[in-house]
Amino acid sequence: MTGASALLPALLVLPLVGAILVMLLPKEEPGLARGVSLGVSIATLALSLVILGPYDTKIASMQMVFDKEWIPGMGARFKLGVDGISIFMVLLTTFLTPIILLSAFKAITSRVREFCALLLILEVGMLGAFLSLDLLLFYVFWEIMLIPMYLLIGIWGGQRRIYASIKFVIYTMAGSLLMLVAIFYLYAQYGSVTGEYTLDLTQLERLVLPRDVQIYCFAAFALAFAIKVPLFPLHTWLPDAHVQAPTAGSVVLAGVLLKFGIYGFLRFAMPLFPYGAAELAPYLAYLAAAGIVYGAFVAFAQSDVKKLVAYSSVSHLGFCMIGIFAMNAEGIEGSIYAMISHGLTTSGLFLAIGVLYERRHTREMSEYGGLWKQMPVFAGLFLMCMLGSVGLPGLSGFVGEFLTIFGMFISGGTAGEPTFWAEFMPHPMLLGAVATSGVIFGAIYLLYMFQKMMFGPLDNPKNKELKDVSWREISVFTPLIIGIVVMGLYPKPFIKVMEPAVDRFISRFEAKLIEPDGPAHLIGQPAVASDRAPKTAPKAAADPHAGHAHAEGAHKAPPTKKPTAEEPAH
C-alpha cells in the first residue's frame, strides 16, 4: 500500500467531515452553510483531481488500493480502489456536486443547513459506491445513497413528493434485495470451494459458478442495476422522482445516480457471472434498444418539460446499455463516454429548467415561448446543452452515442473476423440500426422542446418580465458547457484512460466465459465434480491476479456454446 492509497479514503472523509461541520453551523445563517458546503465540495473536487497525479493511465487493474479489515468475522473488508472505469465516475461526481450546490443557492431557502449536509452525505455515498471493491461495502454505500436522495425529494420536492420518494425507494430496494441474496450465495459458494470466506471483489471474480446458477445470480444483480439505469420497462420511478425532486435532486439523480446501473453491470454483474451475462445479454440489449425508441416517443408526449428530459434519460441510458452488451472496446468505452456526457448535458438541461422554474414556478412548456428574445444568454446556454444531448458531432453526446452504436453494429466482429461474442448476440446490426434511429427521435423531441420554449412569439405577459441569467447562474453552466465542448472535440485523452481497464474487462470476461461447465470452481482450475469438497478444493492462490489465464486443456465437458471449445471435443 503506497502513500497514494490514503487519497481514496480521504475523498470519502472530506465531504463527510464537511457535512458534520455544516450541521454544526448556526441555523440562522444559511449563507454560511451554503458557502462552507460549496467550499468543501470544491475541496473534494480538488482532491479528486489530485488522484490523477499518481494515477497511472497504463495500468489496467485497480490502483491506489486501500485495504483494511472491516468485519473480520465475515471476511468483509474496507477495500477501495480506482481503475479506468471508476475514475471517471468519481470525477463526474466531484465535478457535479459543487455545481449542484451553487445552483441551489437561490432555489433552496428552507432548511438550508440540512440540505447542504445531505448533499455532501450523498456525495460520500456515491463516491464510496464507485470506489468500493468489497461487495458488502458496495452494498452499504449503495443503500446509503438512497437515504439522502429520499429526503431530498421528500422534503424539498414538489406536490407529490411523498409518493415519488416512496416509489423511488421501494423500486430501488426491491431490486437490490435480490442482489443481496445473490451476494450471499456467491459468498457461500466461494467459501465452500476455497475454504475462505470473503466479500472481496477481486477474489470473488475468480470463482466460476455453474452455468445455470450464473444465470440466476446475474439476473438478480441485473434487476437491481436495470432498475437504476433505468432500463425499459423498469423506468417508471424515474419521471416521478425527477418531476418531484428539486433541481439539485434531479441533477444528482440524472448526473450520477443513474450511472450506478451501468457501472454496476460493468464492475459487478458481468465480471462475476459472465455466462449469465452472455445468456441474458440479447434480452437486455433488446430492452435497451426498445427503451431508446420508447423513451424518445414518450418524451415527445410530455407537456411538462422536466418529464420530457426525464424520459430522455431513459432513451440515452439505453445507448449505454447497448454499448456494454456490444462486448467490445468501442461499445464499452462508448458507453462510459456516453454516461459522462449524459451527466453533463442532462444536468445542464435540468439546471436550465431550474432557472426557469425559479422565475416562473411552472414547468409546463405551453407557459413559455419566445424566451430567446427575452433571455438571449440563457438561450445560448440552453441551446448548447440541448445540442450536446441531441448528439451533434463536435459535442460530447455524439462520441458516446456513435461509439455505442458502432460497437453494437460490429459486436459480432467485422466481415472477415467474427469475435467470441458473435455466438451470444444475435442480429447486432438490427440492434444497432434500431438504436441509431434514436438519433432521429432524439432530435424530434429535444428540438420540439426547445422550439416550444425558446422560439415563437413572446406572447405570455408573465414571460415579458423574465430576467436573463445572473453571473452566478452563468458560472453554473460554464463548466458543464466547457466539458461538453472539450469532450466533443478531443475525446482521445478520456478514451485513453479507459482503454486498459476496458480491455482487461473484456479479456477477463472472455477467459471466464469459456471456463468449463461443472460445479463451482476457481478460474483456471479444473472443475472437479466432487461432493462437498472444501478439503480437496485448492486453496486460493496468493496473487489474486494470477488466476485469470486461460484454462488450457481443462475442458472436461465442453460448453455448448463456445466455438473454440468445440475443438478438443472432436
Partner: protein
C-alpha cells in the same frame, strides 16, 4: 504521393474563429466600450474578413502547392498513377478505440479544391451582400456569427479526410441551417421550418451513420485513402444479403443520407419551407453550398458507387424523378423564393443523374455553374424583395425592369443560364448531364434506362426554362401590379448588394469554358479542352462517358461511346428545348399573369390539376398524416397506455395495491383468538402430511445416438419434502423393456446424479417405467412414460 501542408486547418478555422468572435468575444467586450451591443461594422468586418481570408488562403493553396502537384502529375502522361494524393494535414487523433481510429485530418485534392473555391468565393460575396440586406437587423451579430459558423462547417465537410470528420461538417451545416432558417423565430412558421429541416436531415443522417458502421464492418476502415485500397474494394464486392453486394447496401445508405441533405425524393420537403430564412441564407446554404453536399459526397465515394450498378441506377432514377417533379411543382408557385427553391430541388436532381450515370465530372460541373446562377438568382430575388418591402408575391410585381436595371439584367443572365441557352454556363453543364444520361448503359441496366433518364431530364429542362421565364416575366415584364404604398418605396438596391450580383452574373456567363463538350477528331483526341474533367480526373476515377480517354477496364460500368454527330445533335436538342420553354413562357406571361391560364385553372380538370400542383402533390399533407400524426399518436398512446396504465398503473401500483390488500387480509388471521390459531395448526398439519406422503417421482431422457437413450431420475419434488431420503437413500429400478422385470437397479445418492443408458432395438415408441423404493418407509413409487426413439438417419432428428 500525398503532401503534407500545415496550412489546411486555417481554411475552416478562420470562419470558425470569426463566428467565435462575433458570437462571444465581441459581445463580452462590448460593455468595455460603453455600449450595450457590439457595433455592426465590427461585426461584418470580422465576418467578411474571415471568409475572405479563407478564400485567399484557398486560392493560394489551390493555385500554388496543389497546382504544382497537379502539373507534375499531369506531365507524367500515361505513366501517371490513377489518382493524385493532394495535400494533407493531420491535426490530432479524434477517436481511437479498439480497431476504430478516426483522425482529425484534412485533405485538399482537386475535388475539394473545386468545392473550396465555390464555398469561400460565393460565400464571400454573400457575406458582403448581407451587409446591405440585413442592415438594421436587431440580431445582426448572431446572423453573421451563424453564417461564419456555417462556412466553417461546410469547409470541414469538404476537407474532411474520413467519413466521420465529414459527418462533423455534415451535421454542423445542418445545425446552422436550423438556426438560420428559424432566424426570425418569433414567427412560429419559421421555427417550424427550421425544425423540419433538421429532422428531415436527421433521417438522412441516420442512414449516413449506419453507412459508416456497415462500411467499417465490411472493410475495417472509414477514411477515404484506406477505403480505396484493393482489399477494401474486394470486400465491397462480396455478396452480403439477398444476393446484392455489400457495396450496394453501403451505397444505398449513403445515398439516403445524401437525399436528406440534398433534398431529393422522398426527403425534399424541407427545402421549400427553408425559404423562411433570410435570403442570403437561402442563397448560400440552400442553393450554392450545403444542399450540394450530397452530390459532393457521392462523387467523393465514387469508388464505392462504381461497384454497384444497382445503387447507381437508384441514384440516377431518384435524381431524374426529383428533377421532373420539382420542376412541375415550380409551375404553380406564386412566391418568388418558393419557385427558386423548387428549381433548386430540380437542379439537384440533374446533378444526381449526372453522378448516378457515372458522369461525375458532369455532376460537379453542374454543381459549380448552378452555385453561381442559383446564388445569383436568390440574391437578385432578395434585392427584389428588398425593393418590394419584403413581399415575395410575384403576382403583385411586374414591370420592375424600369426600377431596378442592375438587378434585372443580372436576373436575366441567370435565367438564360439555367434555361440552358448557349453560350451561358448552364448550357454546357446541363448538356453534359443529358449526354451522359443518353449514353449511359451499365451491366443490368438494360438499353432503356439511359434513354428514360435522358427523356425525363429533357422534359424537366423544358419545364425549367418555362418556369424560370414565367418568373422573369411576372417580376420584371409587363406592368407593375402592386399597391401605391409599396410602389413609392421601390428602389434599386445599394451597391453592396448589386455588385455581388454583377460578379455572379459575370461568372455565370463565362464559367462554362471549364467544361467544353467532348468532341473527338479522327485520332480520338479531344478537339476542345476539358479543363474540369482533367482537373478532377486526378481525384475522381470517372467511369462514365468520359472514361473514353481513360483506359479503365476494371469498372463494372462499360464505356459508352457517343459519336460527334450524336453529341452535337443532343446539344442542339437541349438548346431547342430551352428556347421552346422560354418562348412558351413569353407567349403566356409576357404581359403579366395570363387570364387564360387563370381561367383554365378555375374550371374542370384544369382546376383539379392546378390544385394538385399548387399543393405540391399533397406530399406535405401525406407526411403530416402518415408520419407526424403517427408519431404524435404513438407517443401519446405509449405514454398513456404502456407507461401510465400498464407499467405504472397495473404492475407497479398494482403490486403495491395487492400487498396492501393482502396484508389487510392476513390481518384477519392475526386476531389473537386462540381457537382460530388452533384451527390453523390442525389444517396446516393435515396439509403438510398430505403433501409429504404423496411424493411424485419422474425421470428425464435424452437420445444419445442411433438407438441409445440416457435416463436421468428426477427427485426434485421428492427430496425437498421428504428430506429424510437424502440421508437414508432409496433404491431405484428401471424397467426398460416393458416386461415387468427390473432391468436396472441402483442405490440413489443425492450427490451423484444417476444416469442409465439403454440401447433400444430401433426407432419407435417404448414404454419405460421407473420405481423408487423408499428405504425408510419401504414404500414404492413408480412412474411410467412412453418415450420416442427417433430415427437419426432422417434429417431433423436429435443430434
Amino acid at each position: 504521393m500525398q503532401k503534407t501542408n500545415n496550412l489546411l486547418f486555417l481554411i475552416p478555422l478562420l470562419p470558425l474563429a470569426g463566428a467565435f468572435l462575433n458570437l462571444f468575444v465581441w459581445r463580452l467586450l462590448a460593455p468595455l466600450t460603453g455600449k450595450y451591443r457590439q457595433s455592426d461594422s465590427l461585426t461584418h468586418t470580422t465576418a467578411i474578413a474571415s471568409v475572405l481570408g479563407a478564400f485567399g488562403l484557398a486560392c493560394y493553396l489551390v493555385g500554388v502547392p496543389l497546382w504544382k502537384q497537379y502539373s507534375a502529375w499531369h506531365a507524367l502522361g500515361d505513366a501517371r498513377p490513377e489518382t493524385m494524393g493532394g495535400l494533407h494535414q493531420h491535426l490530432w487523433t479524434w477517436i481511437e478505440v479498439g480497431s476504430l481510429k478516426i483522425d482529425l485530418a484534412f485533405r485538399l485534392d482537386t475535388l475539394t479544391a473545386v468545392m473550396l473555391l465555390v464555398i469561400t468565393g460565393i460565400g464571400s460575396l454573400i457575406h458582403i451582400y448581407s451587409v446591405g440586406y440585413m442592415h438594421g437587423e436587431k440580431r445582426y451579430p448572431a446572423f453573421f456569427g451563424y453564417l461564419n459558423l456555417f462556412t466553417g462547417m461546410m469547409l470541414i465537410l469538404v476537407l474532411g479526410d474520413s467519413l466521420p470528420i465529414m459527418f462533423i461538417g455534415w451535421e454542423g451545416v445542418g445545425l446552422c441551417s436550423y438556426l438560420l432558417i428559424g432566424f426570425w423565430f418569433e414567427e412560429t412558421a419559421n421555427a417550424d421550418a427550421g425544425r423540419k429541416a433538421f429532422v428531415a436531415n436527421r433521417v438522412g443522417d441516420f442512414a449516413f451513420l449506419l453507412g459508416i458502421c456497415l462500411l467499417f464492418y465490411a472493410t475495417g476502415s472509414v477514411d477515404f485513402a484506406d477505403l480505396q485500397r484493393p482489399e477494401s474494394i474486394d470486400a465491397l464486392k462480396e455478396v452480403f444479403w439477398g444476393g446484392e453486394r455489400m457495396g450496394f447496401y453501403i451505397a444505398l445508405l449513403f445515398f439516403i443520407g445524401a437525399c436528406g441533405k440534398s433534398a431529393q425524393i422522398p426527403l425534399y420537403v424541407w427545402l421549400p419551407d427553408a425559404m423562411a430564412g433570410p435570403t442570403p441564407v437561402s442563397a448560400l446554404i440552400h442553393a450554392a453550398t450545403m444542399v450540394t453536399a450530397g452530390v459532393y459526397m457521392i462523387v467523393r465515394m465514387s469508388f464505392l458507387y462504381a461497384h454497384s450498378t444497382t445503387a447507381m441506377a437508384i441514384v440516377a432514377v431518384v435524381g431524374a424523378l426529383t428533377a421532373l417533379f420539382a420542376a412541375i411543382m415550380a409551375f404553380a408557385q406564386t412566391d418568388l423564393k418558393k419557385v427558386l427553391a423548387y428549381s433548386t430541388v430540380s437542379q439537384l436532381g440533374f446533378m444526381f443523374v449526372g453522378v448516378g450515370v457515372g458522369a461525375y465530372t458532369a455532376g460537379v460541373f453542374h454543381l459549380i455553374t448552378h452555385a453561381f446562377f442559383k446564388a445569383g438568382l436568390f440574391l437578385a430575388a432578395g434585392s427584389v424583395m428588398h425593393a418590394m418591402s419584403g413581399s415575395g408575391d410575384i403576382m403583385k410585381m411586374g414591370g420592375l425592369r424600369k426600377y431596378m436595371p442592375r438587378t434585372r439584367w443580372s436576373f436575366l443572365i441567370y435565367c438564360v443560364a439555367i434555361a440552358g441557352i448557349f453560350p451561358f454556363s448552364g448550357f454546357f453543364s446541363k448538356d453534359e448531364i443529358l449526354a451522359g444520361a443518353f449514353g449511359a448503359g451499365a451491366e443490368g441496366w438494360g438499353p432503356v434506362l439511359g434513354k428514360f433518364l435522358w427523356a425525363t431530364l429533357s422534359i424537366a429542362a423544358l419545364g425549367t426554362a418555362f418556369y424560370m421565364f414565367r418568373l422573369y416575366f411576372l417580376v420584371f415584364g409587363g406592368e407593375l401590379r402592386c399597391d401605391e404604398e409599396t410602389k413609392s418605396h421601390i428602389h434599386e438596391s445599394p451597391y453592396s448588394m448589386t455588385v455581388p450580383l454583377m460578379i455572379l452574373a459575370a461568372f455565370t456567363c463565362v464559367i462554362g469554358v471549364i467544361g467544353f463538350p467532348h468532341l473527338l477528331d479522327d485520332k480520338k483526341e479531344l478537339i476542345l479542352p476539358t479543363y474540369l474533367h482533367d482537373w478532377l480526373s486526378s481525384t475522381v476515377v470517372d467511369f462514365g462517358r468520359e472514361s473514353l480517354l481513360m483506359a479503365n477496364g476494371t469498372s463494372s460500368i462499360p464505356e459508352s461511346h457517343l459519336s460527334n454527330t450524336l453529341t452535337i445533335g443532343l446539344m442542339i436538342g437541349a438548346f431547342a428545348i430551352g428556347l421552346i420553354g422560354i418562348f412558351t413562357a413569353k407567349a403566356i406571361y409576357g404581359r403579366g399573369p395570363s387570364e387564360k391560364v387563370a381561367a383554365m385553372c378555375e374550371t374542370g380538370n384544369g382546376k383539379a390539376i392546378h390544385n394538385v400542383v399548387l399543393n405540391k402533390f399533397y406530399v406535405d399533407e401525406l407526411y403530416e398524416w402518415s408520419l407526424y400524426r403517427f408519431f404524435r399518436g404513438a407517443a401519446k398512446t405509449l405514454h398513456e397506455v404502456v407507461d401510465r396504465f400498464l407499467i405504472d398503473g397495473l404492475v407497479v401500483n398494482g403490486s403495491a395495491w395487492l400487498i396492501d390488500r393482502g396484508s389487510r387480509g392476513l390481518q384477519l388471521f392475526q386476531n389473537g383468538q386462540l381457537h382460530r390459531y388452533l384451527v390453523g395448526v390442525v389444517v396446516g398439519g393435515a396439509l403438510i402430511f398430505y403433501f409429504a406422503s404423496s411424493p411424485k417421482v419422474s425421470f428425464d431422457y435424452k437420445q444419445l445416438n442411433a438407438n441409445e437413450v440416457e435416463f436421468t431420475p428426477d427427485f426434485s419434488s421428492l427430496t425437498t419434502i421428504r428430506g429424510g431420503l437424502d440421508a437414508k437413500g432409496a433404491t431405484i429400478t428401471f424397467d426398460l423393456d416393458s416386461d415387468g422385470e427390473a432391468d436396472f437397479t441402483s442405490e440413489y445418492h443425492p450427490q451423484k446424479p444417476m444416469k442409465v443408458k439403454w440401447t433400444f432395438g430401433g426407432a419407435g415408441k417404448y414404454k419405460v417405467s421407473m420405481t423408487m423404493t423408499d428405504a425408510v418407509f419401504d414404500e414404492k413409487y413408480s412412474v411410467t412414460r412412453t418415450i420416442t426413439v427417433k430415427d437419426l438417419a432422417v434429417k431433423g432428428g436429435v443430434k
